[in-house]
Each structure stands twice: as C-alpha cells, then as structure tokens.
Amino acid sequence: MIVVDHLTKQFGATRAVDRVSFHVDRGEIIGLLGPNGSGKTTIMRILTGFFPPTSGAATVAGLDVTRDALALREQIGYLPESAALYPDMRVRAFLAFCAEVRRIRGDAARRRVAKVMEDCGLVDVGDRLIGKLSKGYRQRVGLAQALVHEPAVLILDEPTVGLDPRQIIEIRALIAALRGRTTVLLSTHILPEVSTTCDRVVIIDRGHIVAEDSAAALGRRVSGSERTLITVDGPSASVCAAVGAVPGVERVELKNGSGDGPASLIAYSATADGSVRKAIAAVVVQHGWGLLEVRPLSLSLEDLFVRLVNEEGTTPAP
C-alpha cells in the first residue's frame, strides 16, 4: 500500500531524510519510531504530497507522491503534528467542511460526519468551538477529519502526544479498530506506543532507518539484556561489591548512597529472565541488609537507539 524507495529530502545543508526505504502492506498498522527531529514528519509530509522528495520515490496506493499528488491526497487521511485545526470553527461545521472539500455531498456527507463523530466520541461536542476544546478532544477532531472520507491510508503524526493516559488509551483503541480495513502509518517517540498498537515498527534516527521489525521481534531483541534497579538498606560500597559478584551480573552502577540512607544501584545483566533478580535478592538477604526494592528497568528509547545504532555499526542491517 505504501512503498518508499530510497527517499531523500535535503533542506539546505541538512539531510532530513537519507535514503529511506520501507513498505507497508494493505491493512497493516506500522509505527515510525524515532526521537524528535529524526525525520518522521518529513517522511509523512512527503507521503501526503505536501512537498516532493529531493530524490528517491514513494507511492501510496500505487500513486506517485510527486506526479499524482492530487489523486494521492484523495486516498489519504492525514493528522498533522499537534492536530492543527481552525479554532474559530465548530466541530460539526469543520467536519462538514472537510467532507465537502473531499467532494462528499448532501446526505452522504451528513452520514459520514455523523459516523466519524460517533466513532471518535465527538457527539457531545458537535456544536462547540474547536478552539475551546481540550487537547484530547482536538486530537479526536483531527482524527475525525482524517477519517471522514474513509481513506485507504491513514497517516498520523504523533497522534497521542500531549494527551492524558485515558485519552491515549482511547486514541489507541480507535486506531486499533481500523486494523485490517485501513492502512495506518503513525509516528511516535514513545516506545510502548508501538508495541501496543503497531504490527511493525520502522525505527529512524537522524534520517536513517536503524531497524525495521515486527513489534514483538523488536521487543525480544531489546530485552536481550536487562537492567535491574536494587535499593538496599546497607553500606553502599559493600552492597555494590556483593551484587557485582552475583553470577550473571555484568556491571553495577551506583545511583546514590554516598551518605546515609539506602543505597540505590543498577545491575546490568545479560539474561532477561528472573534468575538474576532472585540471586541478587538472596545475596542481599544473606548479608542481613534490608532489601527495599528489586525491579527490572524497561529499556528507554535512548537505550534502544544506542543499542540499535551500535548493532548497525557492527553488522549490516537486515
């Protein structure tokens, strides 16, 4: 459904997107994951026909982003970053406008507007000014305008940024409900987001693809090693030494504990199962220190990047 082939976008001296290639199958939900400024928005703007690439090609639903930009935009629903909308329009009027611009008229337009308002939970705010809505509602209006013409492809730029946890769950459920019918490309810089919503993940850093894999496989790859946070009521130096000596622990890093109070440290281990945690707990108890906390730390996006970029450096990308 989406084919991106050696896409490059140059802004002056900076290369925002550098020879990026990936594809998305029909009905798939794919996540573009990367830190801010990694080129996600640029890729999306190219795919929506906003501007053409410097070189390379991309097609959406078989339509070239440069040559068939107009026909291509008919097929796409796009939610720009931070859901830019007209603040002085009312929700229903705005959605009707979107339908009309998409050449949906009369009864069909009314039906579609009613449908997306229901799907996106906007029925109660139909007559409110968009500018007066909360961020979560505005995001939903943005999603509704992208869905009003039943697009084949939905492109969402950071759909959950700035929302509270409940709103995030709602938006994710909305997107998940489209699975199989609509091809969805969404961008995010939040790691758990992709694992919960996306079938596949493309990870970008500074305009390059760092990894492309299914969310599950990526999870396995990432959890190849683990960090464990341990907080112990005991002398920090001896705690460090003792934990460091536990089989399976590769390295120990002291977080605090220079003075009084419990020592807090991070143990790095190669395996991800609970065996190391069990062993650490046993050692601490053996020494008669008070064990306050033992828990695995999930890998942050930064860690993931460091890991993947390093991987990239040593082995050729798959």
Binding site: T48, F50, F51, L70, P80, L85, D88
Partner: protein, 250 residues
C-alpha cells in the same frame, strides 16, 4: 465544489472575527466623516455658483478619493490573516494535503476577501443613495468612480494576499502590504524629484494615476488593463510563494 466549500469557510471566518467588524466600523466612520465634511464644505462655499450643475464636480468627484484613502488603510488589515494565520496555526498543512489545487486555495481566499470588499463599497453607496433622496444625482460618473474603487480594492487584495503568503506574522503582513501599496500610491506625488522622462514611466506604474481617470468619469481600457495586470501579477506571485514549499531547501 471544493472551491465553494473553501470560499464559504473563508467568508465565514471573516464574519465570525471581531476584526472585520472593527475594520468595517472604522471604514464607515471615516468615509462618513469625509462625506459629511465635504458636504458641509460644499454647502458653505458652493453658493453663488450654479449649485446643482457644480454638484458633481465639487462633491461627488471627491467621494471616491476619500474612500480610496480609507481603503488603502483598511485593506491590509483584511488580507493579513489570509495565509499568515493558516501558517501560524499550522492549518496550512491540512489545506495543502487536501485534494485541492493551489490555485483553488488562492482563488477561494481571494474571492472571499473580494466579497468583503464588495460589502464595504456597497455600504459607502449608502451616502450617495441618501443624497439622491434629497436631490437626484448624476449616477453614471459615480458608477465609473466606484468601478475604479473596485479595481483598486481588488489590487490591494492581490498584493495583500501575496505578502500574507510570505510570513506567518499577521502584523508583518499588514505593514508590508501597506508599505508596498503606499509606494505604488505616491509614486508620482513629488514631481520636483523626478525628471520628465522618469515621470512618464512612473505615471504608468503609479496606481493613483490610473485610478484618477476612473474618478473623472472616464473608463479607459489602458487603466482597466493596468489593474488586471497588477492583480494577475500578484496572484501569480502568490501561487509561486505557495509552491515554494516544493522546491525550497533543495
């Protein structure tokens, strides 16, 4: 179809914003002030000579002049938001990723502002209608003058739309437009500073000189062509400015 949708949206956004009402109020107040003072002036000093025969010359000819000046001041305020606001809000990205041609977008914005201009100009006709009730007026020269005003206003919009497409700051758009329009306006005002050769060229470019012919009750093809060219030229620039997103930064 999509043009109409866009046109309606643009027009709507004028009439829901307080800016339009403030601008309209200022416009009508100033035009009314000029109307009143000119009328008083005529009544005070026009006696003795053939009042009604002189009426056109002394009073009506002046009306489009004063309206044109007020128009010059208020039009940049009506054009400044057209693209600058969309850029500021980020909605331009929405608009440019809808299946709309750039020229549809520019056309709809232009037409909406032109409709607002029409409302303002028709409003000023109220003064003439009022006078007409007291004493029938010679309407034909007045029509010519208002045609001149219409061309003038449409040119202001074309220029303002272009400047608005260059910036996301509405104040910058308004000031920039006012500056350019004022320059086109006063180009031939100082004859001492320009040689006769340069003056001939400047008179061709100057907006005021072309407008003046209309006010005198003469509709000259050359003047019409001047305004048509001015409007097309700036609309062309607007389209290029909008298109610049496709080649800028290569």
């Amino acid at each position: 179809m999509s043009f109409l949708a866009l046109f309606r949206k643009e027009l709507r956004s004028y009439f829901v914003s307080p800016l339009f009402y403030v601008v309209a109020a200022v416009f009508f107040c100033l035009c009314g002030f000029f109307f009143y003072t000119r009328l008083i002036f005529f009544v005070e000093y026009g006696f003795g000579i053939n009042i009604l025969g002189n009426f056109w010359l002394a009073f009506l000819a002046g009306a489009p002049y004063s309206i044109s000046m007020v128009l010059l001041l208020v039009m940049p305020l009506l054009t400044m938001r057209l693209f600058a606001e969309e850029k500021k809000l980020g909605t331009i990205e929405l608009l440019l990723t809808y299946p709309l041609r750039d020229r549809t977008i520019v056309g709809a914005k232009y037409a909406a502002c032109a409709a607002v201009l029409l409302v303002l100009l028709l409003g000023t006709l109220g003064y003439a209608v009022y006078l007409n009730a007291l004493q029938p007026l010679p309407w034909t020269p007045l029509v010519s003058g208002f045609l001149g005003l219409l061309f003038l206003g449409l040119s202001f919009i074309a220029c303002g739309l272009f400047i608005s497409a260059l910036t996301e700051n509405q104040v910058v758009a308004a000031i920039g437009t006012l500056g350019i329009l004022l320059l086109f306006w006063v180009l031939t005002w100082n004859e001492a500073a320009t040689g006769p050769q340069a003056m001939r060229v400047l008179a061709q470019v100057s907006m005021f000189d072309h407008f003046e012919t209309f006010v005198r009750g003469v509709i000259d093809v050359r003047d019409v062509l001047y305004f048509v060219f001015f409007i097309s030229f700036f609309n062309f620039l607007t389209l290029r400015a909008l298109e610049s997103r496709t080649w800028r930064g290569r």
